[in-house]
């Protein structure tokens, strides 16, 4: 089990950030997620594995300085 923005999601071995986002409605805006205190950006979504019990936040659009 993992949590995404406070909601529970099933976890499976080999789950990537990209795979997770396919399960979440309207997540196309999401270019960066915070995975257990580490930022993961879209170029790395396909290759970043999510560990079990992870806490994930989908970050809003990055707005800059």
């Amino acid at each position: 089990m993992i949590t995404v923005d406070g909601h529970d999601y099933d976890w499976w071995k080999g789950m990537t950030v990209a795979a997770l986002l396919t399960q979440i409605d309207n997540s196309g805006y999401c270019a960066v997620v915070r995975l257990n205190d580490r930022y993961v950006s879209r170029p790395n979504f396909e290759t970043t594995l999510i560990p079990d019990h992870a806490e994930i936040f989908l970050l809003p659009m990055i707005a800059g300085g």
């Binding site: 923005d5 805006y29 270019a31 930022y39 170029p43 809003p60 707005a63 800059g64």
Partner: protein, 713 residues
């Protein structure tokens, strides 16, 4: 602590007006040459047209300077203002001051916004804005004492040179046991010895019992301040509450402030964690998207970026409340306690470093090829202490490093310094030389535009290549984002009124990552709406960070998520509740449009403000060198062949660089045309008379400037 010796030159007593609906209703004019003070009324027309903050600054400056005024002329005027909402505690980001002057590096109007308590204290002391003209012998200290209702001008002796120690000494001296009642504006020796000086604005950190600093960094206003012979300006004010601004509707103000504050507290921990890590989260993100300037904007990423980002600084920052204004729940002004510099006058002593923020990390780190957080901290500290803009320092030294590596300059020019990328000790030495006004650092401190001229004329360096790689526009050094792959952000920098600073339009993510504006018209629309709304914060004394760095959870489901309209609506309510003037979101844009166009025409008055002045170096547009092209060959080859239909078979890299350059430069010119049209400007980038009339800025002297530049009805 230094002994403060002040000799009173003049004391002027005044009657402090009651604040009414966010306004003091008057401004302060100080001629430091004569030690004279005048108080001018603020009328309804001024409020309606210019709102406050930067608007008031520009209106006062317009009357103070001539089109021929140079930065070091006595009539050059530094203006400082808050805004009608400035000084509201509890509404996040409500403590900004906006500073303007004719810039030493651009020769035109410069504006810079800054945290700290000065602007609100100035207003509560009775002045919506202040203007400072004239020059005096070095060492003048000015006190604006809102508690005892007097303005005092002093000569000083023996005060510390650097901003770090000076502000602490003056806070203790004037605070009379209540240091929180004091905010100090000062520059430093680097501001005096270069053209890229900043101003330090202080706030007192009651928990840590130290004076903290924010910087009005851009465009050398600190240099103007030092040139005037002013050591410091001090504002003194008592306690602040939500009633201090005498808002028109306090109940609504409390309600909207509570909603906004609560949202920041609830959502920031789930989003960017700015209350914990400031803007350091941007470092890894920019790096991942190839947007982090590295080695003078040659590249946008480096494997070592993780060494200077949030993962490191979250452990270095001293935990605690770091709001640069009272009750701000974004509270992003972090710092490092007990840092021990390894060079310079503070070598071996424990100091508190205010920062770094993203811009300083990228400018004084990755862009110089430096990936050591402690060196970045040390450059940050000394830039503040010397009164130097970290962005211009970072971008300037990065330019010098590339010139050195290209062989355009060598050790005979740099006094033996090996200014290769990554040479942290050489970079630090340049900073110290800027502080002392010595050696090659003195040349670097002239800014990139002047360096290009010096290197070409005195060192026979290739002017054309320096034009391509010298990251300045209008004479101002670029802030720290890679724009090669975002045409909209090229416009965000190139069309910015004061020069390439991201505070007008930060569209790089919306454009490049989210592809929200694929057409020229959409980019032009964005380059209208975003600069206007961002300008509005500077009119009102506000910080823009709470608007779109922390956003509502349902923002993604709204029609225009980039605008964060829920927050825009709250800002409209905030404005109405303080000023009593009904305002809808569109009205906020209209308010800014008048001031924005006025500033463009002000540029014209100073001899700038045309299409030619919106030019940017090619390094901001595309790959200058074959090395840059080859490093992202797949991207560029793909664009040439697939997007632009160019047959690249058999073409050398040099040929492909040239073809791509032609395409991209044409696109930038087309973008300029589209934006000018959207803004109601001529093809030469000048507001039309109809635009000036529509916005209520058709004053006779404004129309005269337009007419003198060939723009008539």
């Amino acid at each position: 602590m230094a002994v403060v010796q002040l000799k009173e030159v003049k004391t002027i007593e005044y009657k402090r007006p009651d604040i009414e609906k966010g306004y003091a209703g008057q401004t302060l004019a100080l001629d430091i040459s004569k030690s004279s003070v005048a108080i001018k009324p603020v009328d309804d027309k001024m409020k309606k047209t210019f709102i406050g903050g930067k608007g008031f600054d520009l209106w006062l400056m317009w009357h103070a300077v001539k089109g021929t005024t140079q930065w070091h002329d006595p009539e050059n005027t530094i203006c400082i203002a808050s805004g009608p909402m400035g000084g509201t505690p509890g509404y996040p980001g409500s403590g900004k001051s906006i500073v303007t002057a004719i810039s030493p590096t651009t020769g035109s109007v410069m504006d810079s916004n800054v945290g700290g308590y000065f602007g609100p204290y100035l207003k509560f002391a009775g002045f919506d804005a202040m203007e400072i003209t004239g020059k005096t012998a070095p060492g003048a200290v000015v006190l604006i004492d809102g508690i005892d209702q007097k303005i005092q001008i002093f000569d000083s002796e023996g005060l510390p040179e650097d901003g770090y120690a000076l502000s602490a000494a003056l806070t203790e001296h004037f605070g009379q046991g209540k240091p929180r009642t004091i905010s100090v504006v000062s520059a430093g020796p680097g501001a005096e010895n270069t053209l890229i000086g900043c101003l330090n604005f202080t706030w007192y950190d009651a928990k840590r019992k130290i004076v903290r600093y924010k910087q009005a960094g851009r465009g050398g206003i600190g240099t103007v301040f030092a040139d005037k012979g002013i050591k410091a300006i001090v504002a003194r004010w008592d306690t602040v509450s939500m009633s201090t601004n005498a808002p028109a509707d306090k109940d609504t103000l409390k309600k909207v402030a509570r909603l906004y504050s609560r949202e920041m507290v609830e959502l920031d921990p789930k989003q960017n964690e700015m209350a914990r890590v400031g803007t350091t989260h941007l470092v890894p993100i920019m790096n991942d998207f190839d947007l982090l300037p590295t080695n003078n904007y040659r590249f946008g990423s480096d494997p070592r970026a993780s060494l200077i980002g949030k993962d490191v600084f979250q452990h270095l920052f001293d935990p605690g409340f770091d709001g640069c204004w009272m009750g701000c729940t974004v509270a992003c002004s972090h710092g490092v306690r007990d840092f021990v510099p390894f060079t310079g006058p503070y070598k071996g002593e424990k100091v508190f470093v205010d920062g770094p923020e993203y811009e300083t990390i990228a400018g004084c780190g990755s862009n110089m090829g430096i990936f050591d957080p402690y060196t970045i901290l040390e450059i940050n500290f000394y830039c503040d202490a010397y009164g130097l803009d970290t962005i211009s320092v970072g971008t300037g030294i990065a330019f010098v490093m590339e010139c050195f590596e290209m062989g355009l300059i060598n050790e005979t020019h740099t006094d033996g310094l090996l200014l290769n990328f990554g040479n942290r000790m050489a970079a630090l030495e340049i900073v110290h030389q800027m502080g002392r006004g010595e050696g090659f650092g003195k040349i670097v401190g002239q800014g990139i535009r002047r360096m290009k001229k010096i290197f070409a004329e005195q060192y026979s360096a290739d002017a054309a290549i320096m034009q391509d790689i010298g990251m300045e526009s209008k004479g101002l050094e670029f802030s720290e984002y890679m724009t090669k792959e975002s045409l909209a952000q090229q416009g965000g920098y190139g069309l910015a009124l004061k020069g390439p600073q991201h505070d007008e339009a930060w569209l790089i993510f919306l454009d490049m990552v989210h592809n929200f504006m694929p057409t020229f018209e959409q980019k032009a629309e964005a380059l209208h709406w975003f600069p206007m709304f961002r300008t509005w914060f500077g009119l009102c004394g506000l910080c823009k960070l709470p608007w779109n760095d922390i956003v509502p959870e349902d923002n993604k489901d709204t029609m225009e998520p980039a605008k964060v309209m829920k927050h825009v609506n709250w800002y409209a309510q905030y404005f109405t509740s303080v000023t009593g003037q009904e305002a809808a979101p569109d009205d906020l844009i209209s308010m800014s449009e008048g001031v924005y166009n006025f500033q463009r025409i002000f540029n014209l008055k100073m001899g700038f403000g045309r299409r030619e002045h919106d030019a940017i170096p090619y390094r901001a547009v595309g790959p200058v060198t074959s090395e840059e092209y080859e490093s992202r060959r797949e991207r560029y080859d793909g664009q040439l062949s697939e997007k632009h239909g160019v047959d690249i078979k058999g073409k050398s890299t040099v040929e492909k660089v040239a073809v791509l350059r032609k395409i991209r430069e044409d696109q930038y010119e087309k973008l300029k045309t589209a934006v000018y049209e959207r803004r109601g400007w001529t093809r030469d980038g000048i507001p039309t008379v109809a635009t000036a009339r529509r916005l209520g800025i058709d004053f006779p002297e404004v129309l005269a400037v337009l007419k003198a530049n060939g723009v008539e009805v």
